[in-house]
């Protein structure tokens, strides 16, 4: 029992050190030797937990995406109308990306590995399923146009948000992420929201974006 806890602590320390290094100098430039040095442990200890740099990357992807998906599900599992939850959930995930280093690093690694890593493919699949379930509910609620296909809408939202995240992290190291999320919603909403719900969601987005602006984050 004690041993298990200690082993888990070691594993944590390795992951944290690796994430720090990935963020500082990038994944390709980080060697296992650097991680061992940063984590202040022996080569044996590292290899006991991870047999390669890629298996370490996989662990970061899995853990990071678990944090993000969990945060999103906490929002969408409520009884609030589905489209409100999708929009709010995306903002919450964007917030988390700027504070949770593992989530941030995992997202970058996922992009780097893409189809070559099973964990990355699985994560994208989980996001798509989650998003499509939500868009389906939003169509039932009457907020998303009923002539649209839930999966098409889900894929479009996910694709454009991943793109926004990519541009934000490539151009400003993530600093303008929330701004980009707002822009993306501004363009997407008129295309997918039903006529009756349009004005409500314009206002909903304005409020959401105001609450997540850097000035109000102190709250």
């Amino acid at each position: 029992m004690v041993r298990q806890a200690r082993s888990e602590a070691t594993r944590r320390k390795i992951i944290t050190s690796a994430v720090e290094l990935f963020n500082e100098i990038g994944y390709p430039a980080t060697g296992l030797g650097d991680i061992i040095e940063r984590a202040e442990m022996t080569k044996g200890a590292l290899y006991y937990h991870f047999d390669s740099k890629e298996s370490l990357a996989t662990a970061v992807i899995e853990e990071g995406s678990a944090h993000l998906v969990q945060a999103f599900r906490n929002i969408t599992s409520s009884s609030a109308p589905a489209l409100e939850s999708i929009i709010h959930g995306v903002f919450v995930v964007a917030d988390l990306l700027s504070t949770d280093m593992i989530a941030r690093s995992g997202t970058q690694l996922m992009r780097a590995f893409g189809e070559f890593n099973e964990a990355a493919a699985r994560t994208y699949g989980a996001w798509l399923a989650e998003m499509t379930a939500c868009t389906g509910r939003a169509i039932d609620d009457g907020d998303i146009r009923s002539d649209l296909d839930p999966q098409t809408v889900g894929e479009t939202i996910l694709g454009s948000m991943l793109g926004a995240e990519l541009l934000a992290s490539a151009t400003t190291a993530g600093a303008d992420m929330l701004q980009r999320v707002t822009w993306t919603w501004k363009v997407l909403l008129p295309a997918i929201v039903s006529q009756e719900s349009r004005s409500y969601f314009d206002e909903f987005l304005a409020r959401e974006s105001m609450r997540h602006s850097p000035a109000s984050l102190a709250d």
Partner: protein, 220 residues
């Protein structure tokens, strides 16, 4: 071994509480007899007196239990990080839905109104609610939804009074009517403390919450 016994005692205790809630949710405090509860819970008189010395002790325990559960639901709502006023509105709908369809919730508030009035429990529980809601209303002020010169405590008290009053004037057995009445009350009070440019959106918000609540409410 003691752990196992503890667990069995907990199960029995909960079984009694559940049976009692079923009674208190449907009948007034004075017309519920301990024999009805015993028969429903299928426990012996001895087991009952081991856990609860009197009908009053049972009533207090239901109130405590219910408010611990409600606190958890409110914490979950807070974790959603909506705006302050939206959170307060959501809380009122959450409480309404549980009051409509959950025996513990209904019994808890029924008892708080009857027994709780004389033994100080009401003041204590409602006082805690008002303090908690006032903090959320304070956030509503900072969000720019609630007017700056309105005291968050007054808004919190108004909300509690409004809901408890609604229980008397409306009908919990008719969810659609009850929820529409809740909507009307909110629409009526908002201009008293909400900034004028936020009213339209919040009215829409309330209307949408009512629609969802009507869809989800299942009466006892």
């Amino acid at each position: 071994m003691t752990q196992q016994l503890d667990r069995r005692a907990d199960t029995t205790r909960l079984q009694i509480l559940r049976a009692a809630s079923r009674q208190f949710a449907r009948k007034s405090y004075s017309s519920v007899s301990l024999d009805d509860i015993l028969a429903d819970a299928e426990v012996t008189k001895g087991a009952m007196y081991f856990h609860f010395r009197s009908k009053h002790a049972l009533a207090s325990a239901i109130i405590d239990y219910r408010f611990a559960v409600a606190r958890t639901s409110v914490d979950e709502l807070l974790a959603r990080k909506l705006s302050g006023l939206e959170t307060l509105i959501d809380i009122s709908y959450l409480i309404a839905i549980e009051d409509i369809g959950d025996e513990f919730a209904r019994a808890g508030l029924n008892l708080l109104e009857s027994v709780g009035r004389t033994d100080g429990l009401q003041a204590n529980v409602l006082g805690q609610w008002v303090t908690g809601f006032a903090a959320i209303a304070g956030k509503g002020v900072r969000d720019g939804d609630i007017m700056k010169d309105r005291a968050p405590e007054s808004i919190a008290s108004l909300m509690v009074s409004m809901y408890l009053g609604l229980r008397q004037t409306s009908n919990l057995a008719d969810p659609e009517r009850f929820l529409h009445d809740l909507e009307k009350m909110w629409t009526l009070v908002l201009p008293g403390f909400v900034n004028p440019d936020r009213i339209d959106y919040l009215n829409q918000f309330i209307k949408r919450r009512t629609a969802v609540a009507i869809k989800n409410a299942i009466p006892l």
